[in-house]
Amino acid sequence: MSISVAHLSKIYRIHKKAPGLLNSISSLFLRQYESIPAVKDISFTVQSGELIGFIGPNGAGKTTTLKCLSGLLYPTHGDIKVLGFNPFDRNKKFLQQIALVMGQKNQLWWDLPPMETFLLNKEIYEIDDLQFKKTLAQLTDLLDVSKLLSIQVRKLSLGERMKMELIAALIHSPKVLFLDEPTIGLDVVMQKKVRDFIGDYNKLHQSTILLTSHYMEDVRQLAQRVLVIDRGQILYDGTLTNLVNKYAKYKTISIVLDEHVDVQLFRQYGQIDSIDYPKVTIKVARGQTKATASALLQSLPINDLNIEEPDIEDIIRDVFSSSQQKPSRG
């Protein structure tokens, strides 16, 4: 097992300050604190070589969890073991085997070419010359950036910089990789390149990867397993397919009609989703899709019929909105 998290909670203690100069002055003398639970009693385990995606809205606790796992944050409660180490101890052997990439933070030296950061990391991680050359050649090749190594970081584009960040983070071939929004702000082409790279890297090196992303496509393409997290709690832990089966109560049947029919006719088959003649889509309960489809084909002038899974985004939105109906805010 690569990672185990048991009953992890992280409560931030935030200094509360009302706006305005007077309040600023009074807060100098009387400090008020507010406890904000970011993660509440979560537990999960990760096998080595797994690629796991965290899904959740802003402030759900995804980043906090990654920060606890990489030893940046001191957990309020609970036990974490990563590669057998307690991350917060920041044992040298632990740090040599992990990496954290934050899409909105950079470790590259802004005024120097990326190569200087790589060379510094080479010494920090005590990588020998041969290994360094090999890894660097492989990574620059995979990411197609070998020509940019000696250009000042500030002059690189956002996408190029993200690729360099990935190289800087992977130069020591970490066993466990934490990726926090690695594709944020990138255009679709660059997003796909970075995404493909992460997938290839995981397969090539059998490294354990934990990934958060706002882009469903990242998670859909990469993660074998997802953790849906909201308000600091895990709502779902499993494969995406099972998530769909569990939470998607409907499938969508889209129909292309041959001739005009009274749309009211569709009401008996399911809930009408959209009408854009000659196209009609209806939502049908999962168990009844086959029967409904054949009934439709027999009774109506249908040119084409498709049974589709609902959008993963829609399902996840449903999961979140159902969790929000529970009065669980602590």
Binding site: L73, N91, A99, D111, I124
Partner: protein, 279 residues
């Protein structure tokens, strides 16, 4: 939950090639901002000129003031410029911001000692400033040929360098502690500015401290700043007895140990509440 916190991570040493690379990167970084550095040096030269000509004017028709001969005083004033580069040059001023903006995370997730990283960065910075300082003072002496008191005793000169070295370590820890305020507050600039002003005064960066009224001088003696500029230069000028030198070195080493322990303690406290912000 985790009673044992390993202080050594973030505090202990590593391989020499690492420090070489830090040196290299720091210098390249300074060279990227050549104009910045040049202007900084010009500011230092101006400061030297102001203090020098001010004191020179005081001695217009006197041979001694406050128990200092003209040679002694002018030597003190010019040596400030050199000792400054050794003791007060630092790159640690941005640590408070690094903590506040979450950039500290970059160091924490790596097997690198944060304090050692900054120490070697400071060494690179100090070395570059020292070279410039010696050059500037050298030119100044060549042009104006002021009356100066050179220390002929090699042993005393070496003791002076040791005292300046201790001063550098002291100031390093002092500056780190000011930066660590960032763990608790976002207002890191005001405390740094205030402490710098007080420090500069009590370190003797404008005049030798023993010309102060006795009460102020006594205060200066119990502060660590005493050992930043004033004490090393007094050693160089040969105005201290062997006992005074020994006592001064002992106390300053005591300060180093105290500040070192305090830094470790504050660091481990700070890391526990560090929020790795920056989104």
């Amino acid at each position: 939950m985790h009673p044992v916190v390993d202080h050594k991570q973030g505090m202990s040493g590593q391989n020499p090639k690492l420090y070489l690379q830090i040196f290299k990167n720091t210098w390249s970084e300074i060279m990227t901002y050549r104009v910045n550095f040049l202007f900084w040096r010009i500011r230092m030269v101006m400061q030297m000129l102001v203090v020098y000509f001010l004191w020179n004017a005081f001695y217009a028709n006197r041979t001694a003031l406050f128990g200092y001969s003209r040679e002694m005083m002018l030597t003190y004033v010019l040596l400030i410029s050199i000792v400054r580069t050794i003791v007060l040059s630092t790159t640690t001023v941005d640590i408070g911001n690094k903590i506040n903006q979450g950039d500290l995370s970059n160091y924490l997730v790596k097997p690198i000692c944060f304090v050692c990283f900054y120490f070697s960065r400071d060494m690179a910075d100090k070395l570059l400033n020292l070279i410039c300082g010696i050059f500037e003072v050298g030119i100044f002496i060549l042009i104006l040929n002021p009356p100066l008191a050179f220390q002929p005793d090699l042993f005393v000169t070496s003791t002076f360098l040791v005292a300046a070295g201790i001063g550098a370590v002291l100031y390093f820890y002092f500056s780190l502690l000011i930066g660590f305020i960032g763990f608790w507050s976002t207002e890191v600039w005001a405390p740094r500015f205030l402490s710098l002003t007080i420090m500069e005064f009590f370190a003797g960066t404008l005049f030798p401290l023993d010309i102060l009224p006795q009460s102020l001088y006594t205060i200066s003696q119990v502060l660590p700043f005493h050992y930043f500029i004033y004490f090393p230069i007094k050693v160089y000028l040969g105005q201290l007895t062997q006992t005074e030198i020994l006592a001064g070195l002992t106390v300053s080493v005591g300060w180093v140990i105290l500040l070192l322990l305090l830094t470790r303690y504050i660091w481990s406290k700070g890391l526990k509440i560090y929020q790795a912000e920056g989104k």
